[in-house]
């Protein structure tokens, strides 16, 4: 044990990506080094820019230490955006590799390709999908139920910083050391010490742990919020559907994350303490890992799809200018999906050798999920029926979703048939299936929700032109990129192949490559849309707050909303509360009297706990034990210190609330009510004309 060894653990010169590239200047090495350079360079540029703009104080006081659910929600989405960019580029590199590497090595080496699909999958699931949705739920759900914040604002901040910590670990793996090559599911024994001695699997274990810890706390937070903080009169059957899906998602997070925690913990026990849970020898049994992982993994994919289902429910109803069709059915379907999702995990390993009745049972349970899912889709279609459908960006994405998602559902049902799964399991057919669910299902939903709620959060609308362009790229890009994968999968091409050996595949990989580039363009359109919209924000302001003539409580306040959300907690008497208030002229009325409002003070405890644990886990990865200890001590010390603090609330005086509310009401009184035909014009100030 030399001094350096104690100080740096397993970290050596050659762990640094640049040094590796220097020593091994192959194309693959250069791509790796380049990515590391981009990560480091990006971080340096951002830090420099912040310093130059003197934005640190602002960032620290207004954002990083904020406990406001709205700001935390936005930060989640920004973080997801950063991670997304990386994962998307990785996807394009993978597609390019498969397009080129037919009977040749292509541009990336085997181990590098393996890192690519592992990080791509891990990031997309844990650091794009979950944060995007958690961000959205964070922002919208408390507003929808008439609450001032979530139940545990401080814990909310910890969750955020744990997620960010996981993201930092993933980014660090780009520069220092390597990430796992075991896929996002990280099956042992391949990820055991005997086969993977490096830091890769450890990075995977600890970054996933950070993210799942964050998700677990978020789940608890949201579930309690929905359970206990609903406005008076907001009974269960009056909840907006997005809130329903939030609740069900939280339940899934609370109960599905523990198996993952156990799976990764036991794998860590094997790797760090020489135990034998999943090793080949001495009584280890990898089937236990597979079982535990999917006990989590399957509910996870519904964690990713339920909130978008909620978004579609809101969006389709609002833009069809109509009540949601079949509210009760939708609620029942949501709960059915949530509960059924705990009964189907085995469909991910039909091929592990269990007996036919067991496979058949889980196959049938899987198909059962098709019923409630179908109910939802039919309900959205009937919601448009007899409505006045505004075919804007969000609706295009929603309709694109319905049409495309059912194709993924079809392939899902095909996979759920064990004999067919024997053939297409672990092939590109499976890859096509789940991208078919995740992109048109989850991402389209996020984009639709983003378009829909953006004006509420920032006070101006997004550009329609660029939104449409994005839609066309996304829609056609998706078909081009993933339909070929179905075909190749039927031809028996295994997933995770960095090289292919049949020239007949070339046309298909080229089409897929083109599609991936189109998807990349689609993402570019989304970013351009943001840029253009910010530039043109003066002509798209909607300060009164109801630009879409929408129906839920979140529209009943100014845009952006005050930090306390509601000047007075609303009394709810029907579903679609705001719609009825507008109908009976109760929408823009001052309250009888205003009260002092208590809000949590900003706190840096969240960031300290999150970063402390991140440091701790980073120490674990590299066996830097002092760092692990220090990080843990910081996290624990912060949590304990915080429990001693008594002065954690601040008061917003009633006069201030009243004054703010009055200003908003004056603004509303001055605005011109706008009919739906004109809502995309600069006339729209966020006050909707009553049209039934």
């Amino acid at each position: 044990m030399t001094f350096w060894h104690i100080l740096l653990g397993r970290l050596t010169w050659t762990s640094i990506a640049f040094v590796r590239t220097w020593r091994d200047p192959t194309i693959s090495g250069i791509i790796g080094g380049g990515a590391a350079a981009v990560a480091v360079g990006g971080a340096v540029v951002v830090l420099a820019l912040l310093t130059y703009l003197r934005a640190w104080r602002y960032l620290w006081t207004e954002w990083m230490t904020s406990l406001d659910h709205k700001k935390i929600g936005i930060m989640y989405m920004v973080v997801a955006g950063v991670m997304l960019t990386r994962a998307l580029i990785e996807a394009v590199v993978m597609r390019t590799q498969q397009a080129i590497a037919i009977n040749n090595q292509g541009i990336v080496a085997p181990a590098h390709f393996a890192e690519l699909f592992t990080t791509h999958g891990t990031i997309m699931i844990f650091f794009v999908g979950m944060p995007l949705l958690i961000g959205l739920m964070n922002y919208v759900m408390p507003l929808q139920i008439g609450a001032r914040d979530v139940a545990f604002p401080y814990m909310n901040s910890i969750s955020l910083w744990l997620t960010i910590g996981g993201g930092i670990m993933l980014m660090a793996s780009l520069v220092i050391g390597k990430f796992s090559t075991g896929g996002w599911s990280g099956y042992p024994p391949y990820t055991e010490l005997a086969f993977n001695g490096g830091v890769g699997p450890d990075y995977w274990i600890w970054s996933v742990s950070l993210s799942s810890l964050g998700a677990l706390m978020t789940g608890i937070n949201f579930a309690v919020t929905v359970y206990k903080l609903r406005a008076p009169g907001m009974t269960w059957m009056r909840l907006p559907l997005f809130t329903w899906t939030t609740l069900c998602t939280s339940i899934l997070m609370i109960f599905a994350v523990p198996p993952l925690t156990i799976a990764t913990l036991l794998l860590a026990a094997d790797r760090y303490l020489g135990m034998h849970f999943f090793t080949n020898d001495l009584g280890g049994n990898m089937m236990n890992f597979v079982n535990l992982f999917w006990l989590f993994g399957h509910p996870e994919v519904y964690i990713l799809i339920l909130p978008p289902f909620g978004v579609y429910s809101e969006v389709v109803s609002a833009y069809s200018s109509k009540e949601l069709y079949g509210y009760t059915s939708l609620v029942i379907a949501t709960m059915a999906i949530a509960i059924l999702s705990f009964t189907v995990w085995l469909h991910h390993f039909f091929t592990m050798g269990q007996s036919a009745p067991i496979n058949a049972f889980f196959g049938i349970a899987t198909m059962l999920i098709g019923i409630p899912t179908g109910v939802k889709i039919y309900d959205w279609i009937w919601t448009m029926f007899w409505g006045e459908v505004r075919l804007n960006t969000a609706m295009l994405f929603s309709i694109g979703f319905m049409v495309t998602f059912v194709i993924g559902g079809m392939s899902g049902i095909i996979l759920a048939t064990p004999p067919v799964d024997y053939m297409v399991h672990n092939t590109l057919f499976l890859i096509a299936h789940f991208h078919n669910m995740l992109i048109p299902g989850m991402l389209f939903g996020v984009i639709a929700g983003y378009y829909y709620w953006f004006p509420k959060a920032f006070g101006f609308r997004l550009s329609e032109t660029w939104g449409r362009r994005a839609f066309y790229c996304w829609f056609f890009g998706f078909y081009l990129a993933f339909m070929p994968l179905y075909v190749m999968g039927l031809g028996g091409v295994a997933r995770r192949s960095q090289e292919l050996f049949d020239p007949a595949l070339r046309p298909w990989t080229l089409i897929a490559e083109f599609g991936a580039l189109l998807l990349l363009t689609g993402l570019a359109c989304i970013f351009i849309q943001l840029y253009v919209s910010i530039r043109e924000r003066h002509s798209t302001r909607v300060p009164v707050g109801d630009p879409w003539d929408a129906r839920g409580l979140e529209w009943s306040m100014s845009a952006p909303p005050p930090e306390y959300n509601f000047a007075t907690i609303p009394q709810v008497s029907r579903r679609d509360a705001f719609y009825w208030r507008k109908k009976y002229d109760g929408a823009y009325q001052p309250a009888d009297h205003y009260r002092d409002i208590e809000l949590p003070k900003n706190s840096m405890c969240g960031i300290l706990v999150g970063m402390g644990l991140t440091a701790c886990f980073f120490g674990f990865v590299w066996h830097i034990w002092w760092l692990a200890f220090l990080g843990f001590a910081i996290a624990l010390g912060t949590a304990i210190t915080r429990s001693f603090m008594r002065d954690v609330k601040r008061i917003i005086p009633a006069e201030e609330v009243a004054a703010h509310d009055r200003r908003w009401l004056d603004r509303a009184a001055a605005a011109r009510p706008i009919s739906r035909h004109l809502e995309l014009t600069p006339e729209n100030e966020g006050l909707a004309k009553w049209q039934g």
Partner: protein, 103 residues
């Protein structure tokens, strides 16, 4: 401290729980120690006793009751029990079947 009726009631609740738990634990250990039945039967009995004891703990120490007052906690616990049953039974059936077919 003055002994009020509600204090007495609270105390009795804990005492009952404690007593029952001790008795149930004792029976479990006795069954194993004295080999009162065939091994499988003993295991069934002690599992059953454990279940009862969990209910006793929930009732007397954690104050979960069927009364209206603690509905949401009760719902939560029942739901958790459902999920736990699904996961544990599922895992046992699946993994033990696999082992039977391949080891």
């Amino acid at each position: 401290m003055k002994i009020s009726p509600s204090l007495r009631a609270d105390f009795l609740t804990y005492l009952t729980g404690y007593g029952l738990a001790i008795v149930l634990t004792g029976i479990s250990f006795a069954f194993v120690f004295y080999r009162l039945l065939a091994p499988e039967a003993v295991f069934a009995v002690i599992l059953f006793l454990a279940l009862i004891q969990i209910i006793v703990h929930l009732r007397c120490f954690l104050h979960i009751s069927l009364k209206q007052s603690s509905r949401s906690d009760l719902q939560l616990i029942l739901f958790s029990a459902l999920i736990i049953a699904l996961m544990v039974c599922g895992t046992l059936i699946v993994v033990l079947d696999q082992k039977a077919r391949m080891m």
